[in-house]
């Protein structure tokens, strides 16, 4: 409620500043009779900006310093016995804040708490009022200075546009900062992890047995990446074996054979698969697909576990089908019509044209699309968390339970272990592996797809 009033007051103030700027520039225009460089509205916005920025700075300073000042005041009132114990201090400070805010505290209120609360409410009231006054003053002075500078020659529009430009640049920088944040955070935590575990033991170790951090210094646990990486690769291969034929053939049919009506219905139906959250696929895998595979395995005498690389890979393949098909569809439809016509002119049938002319021409793009699909499969988490069986061993049998890099990240970070232990930090080393792996795949794939597009433009 309080914040709403503040926001309303600020908006009101800004609109006043804007009106003021507009009115002043109108007056300047009419009294001097000169032609204004900028339209009245830009003068208004400029004045409003000069009002808003100083006031905002004052408020930010207040928000930064207020908690520190409040803490210092309360500290000064605490008896020595209370100040020595952090738990008691926190409790006392909470009570003091409650008393100061007028809510009160239950039970008997010690004198020092009452005194501190009185001081606190006095100071915070004055500080709050002072800040409001200061912010208002800063805003008014800023606006007045900006207003005084309004002349016909003032390049108000250019200044406003610079401000807009700065805002746009800041927004674009966030994307860069995100990447930077990912790289720095994952890298620094990984480096911390590698102070506990040798890099080569991690990269080439064949045993994954992290143990629990609470078992103490006796055993570090073994952090071999290979079983996890192999699990990831196996599931990705199974997924691609399912997604590539179905996805590619669907794309070919949709772009070369299907009539526009069929296409209009079938394409969105297939793309529904792309919009379904991965958790739903995971549940589908353990509730439906896994049990069905288990029963089929019993029928034909194979030992297929319900949660296995095969189950996870199959469902992941289903998830990737629309990804492969829509990317391939795009790429196939970019092959110039002239190539098709040339092939038909030589008497080739449609399927021959597709197999001998269109696919070879589209191959680089399609490979790029496959790589993007692989990178998606490698980074997929929820399906494998639910359906891969979480058993980090090196196995060649796709019907066994396996574990993957992403599953292990989730397992290591959602436990109760200490954030600074190697058991938690290894998640970041795994994340780094995953990031580098998918980054390479993406860079290569995007490069190939881009080159391919340029080839036919």
């Amino acid at each position: 409620m309080n914040t709403l009033i503040v926001v309303a007051v600020i908006l009101l103030g800004l609109s006043f500043a804007y009106r003021w700027g507009v009115a002043t520039s109108r007056k300047v225009a009419s009294t001097t009779g000169a032609k204004m460089h900028s339209r009245y509205g830009y003068h208004g916005i400029l004045v409003a900006l000069w009002c808003a920025i100083p006031a905002a700075i004052v408020f930010v300073l207040y928000l930064v310093f207020e908690p520190m000042i409040a803490e210092a005041i309360m500290q000064s009132y605490l008896p020595r016995a209370v100040a020595a114990d952090p738990a008691l201090t926190a409790d006392a400070m909470g009570r003091i804040r409650n008393i100061a805010s007028g809510f009160g505290a239950s039970g008997e209120i010690p004198a020092y708490q009452q005194a501190a609360a009185n001081a606190l409410s006095r100071v915070s009231n004055t500080a709050g009022l002072a800040t409001i006054a200061l912010a208002a003053a800063a805003g008014i002075i800023g606006a007045a200075m900006a207003r005084a500078r309004i002349t016909p020659d003032l390049r108000a529009r250019n200044f406003v546009e610079i401000a807009v430009r700065i805002m746009l640049i800041v927004c674009s920088a966030i994307a860069i900062l995100t990447t930077l944040g990912i790289v720095l955070s994952v890298l620094s935590e990984s480096i911390r992890f590698f102070t506990y575990v040798n890099v080569f033991d991690f990269l080439f170790g064949t045993t994954w047995n992290p143990r629990f951090s609470s078992t103490g210094s006796g055993g570090q646990g073994e952090f071999g990446l290979l079983p996890l990486l192999w699990g990831t690769i196996m599931i990705t291969i199974i997924a691609m074996l399912i997604a590539v034929p179905i996805g590619l053939m669907s794309a070919i049919y949709l772009s070369e054979y299907a009539g526009s009506k069929f296409r209009f219905i079938a394409k969105p139906l297939l793309e529904v698969l792309a919009g379904i959250p991965t958790i739903v696929y995971g549940i589908f895998a353990i509730f439906t697909v896994g049990p069905v595979f288990y029963e089929i395995g019993k029928l034909i005498g194979l030992d297929i576990r319900a949660a296995s690389a095969f189950t996870a890979g199959t469902v992941m393949g289903i998830m990737i089908i629309p990804f492969v098909s829509s990317l391939s569809d795009d790429i196939i439809s970019q092959v110039p019509q002239a190539m098709r016509d040339g092939s038909y002119g030589l008497g080739a049938t449609k399927s021959e044209t597709i197999r001998r002319v269109i696919l070879p021409a589209a191959l680089p793009g399609i490979v790029g699309a496959f790589l993007l699909a692989v990178s998606r499969a490698v980074g997929e988490t929820m399906i494998v968390v639910l359906a891969a069986g979480n058993s980090p061993v090196l196995t060649l049998n796709p019907f066994d339970a396996v574990s993957t890099v992403t599953v292990t990240i989730v397992n290591q970070l959602t436990g109760d272990s200490d954030f600074a232990s190697p058991q938690s930090l290894v998640a970041f080393a795994l994340g780094l592996t995953l990031f580098v792996l998918t980054l390479c795949l993406n860079v290569v794939a995007i490069y190939i797809v881009k080159r391919y597009r340029e080839q036919y433009e």
């Binding site: 669907s250 959250p277 353990i286 049938t349 929820m382 959602t414």
Partner: protein, 455 residues
Amino acid sequence: MAVTTDARDIDAAGSSSRKIVERGLARRKRNEVIFKGIGLGAILIGISLVAVLFGSILYKGVPAFTQATLHLDVTFDPAIVNVPEKPVQGADENDADYYERLLSWQRRLVFVNWNRVIQDAIAKVVPAAADNARDAAGMVASGERVRLRDMVAEDPSLIGTTKAVSLVAAANIDVWLKGNIDRSLAQSKQQLTALQQEWADDLYDRGVITMAFSSVLFTNVDSRSSPATAGLLGAMVGSIMMMLIVMFCAVPVGVMAAVYLEEFAPKNRLTDIIEVNINNLAAVPSIVFGLLGAAIFINLLGLPLSAPLVGGLVLSLMTLPTVIIASRASLRAVPPSIRQAALGVGASPTQAMFHHTLPLAVPGMLTGAIIGVAQALGETAPLLLIGMNAFVPNVPTTPIEQSTALPVQIYLWQGNEMRNFFEARTAAAILILLAVMISMNAFAIFMRHRFERRW
């Protein structure tokens, strides 16, 4: 060269290659049909997979929207509900002291033997219940005791009256009546006692227990002790908060970044790097964003675990590239002549952008934004890493309180050990999630068709 070749040779060569072609024709036509058939088959497989997926979830989830419910006359007997008057705030009493007194009154209410109240209510329809307290109390979901208590806490005048109340039956009764339990199983392996089984069947036949719409699914929060009354309210509120954060962070920032990159950025190395970087960011696995959130928002900045604020920020960063790419595409789709015309009559590049190009690109941007937000709604993995898999039996009121989210709740429910009950609940939660996502996507498609302009 035709000049040096005899005309008859050409004829001969023509007829012989014609023969070769004709010989192969049947095979080639067959191959054509087979190839086309494979293509059609692939699409049909894809579409049937969609059908199987939705079919299996609907089949599992729809029954969970109705739930066994007992319709009983509950008497709030003053002998059992034995509490003093509800305290009233005195004129000279501060808030803290009043709440202390109120709390102690509510504590008295907690210690009331609510099982006895329920037992008496059941005994009105099954007299045998009067002598079997344990069996009777086990008929009703344990969370319903809390509801009776809250009814009295809200309106103390209920004490001494009788009221018709619909109480959700215990999860095992629901499973029993829906036939999700093997009735031929030995009694020693059954969750319900013989008496409870008999009562359940009897009351169901008499209409005291009916399969009513499961409103608790929407009005309650998650519960461990009372599976039958576990609901999605907390998760839904958490998800809505995160959606709002994504909408107010990712969408404006993404649109402005797209405007800058498409219109104002100088074409140089740095812009190329930003370009590649955004494309890459769109393909970074979502779990890596979770790691970013865990390391920066939680470990470095000290924001609370499991808070929708952190979840929303992580999802915003994840959605940002999607929004930027969609916005750039729709800016690019506006014909350059519009911009050139604006520039031609003296507008500055900023004016041309904000007055002419941007408004025309808004429908496309909106579509991209809605699809991005819907994607964020279904995302689970990054939320697990920032602690949202915690059990939270509350509805968050601010974005810095602990909360869960819909997809995470689905993840938690699928792991519940009471599988024959929670399998259906999980599927029902998925149906709710999918319904929200599909309506968002449908809205996006509608917007695209309604406002799309072809140039």
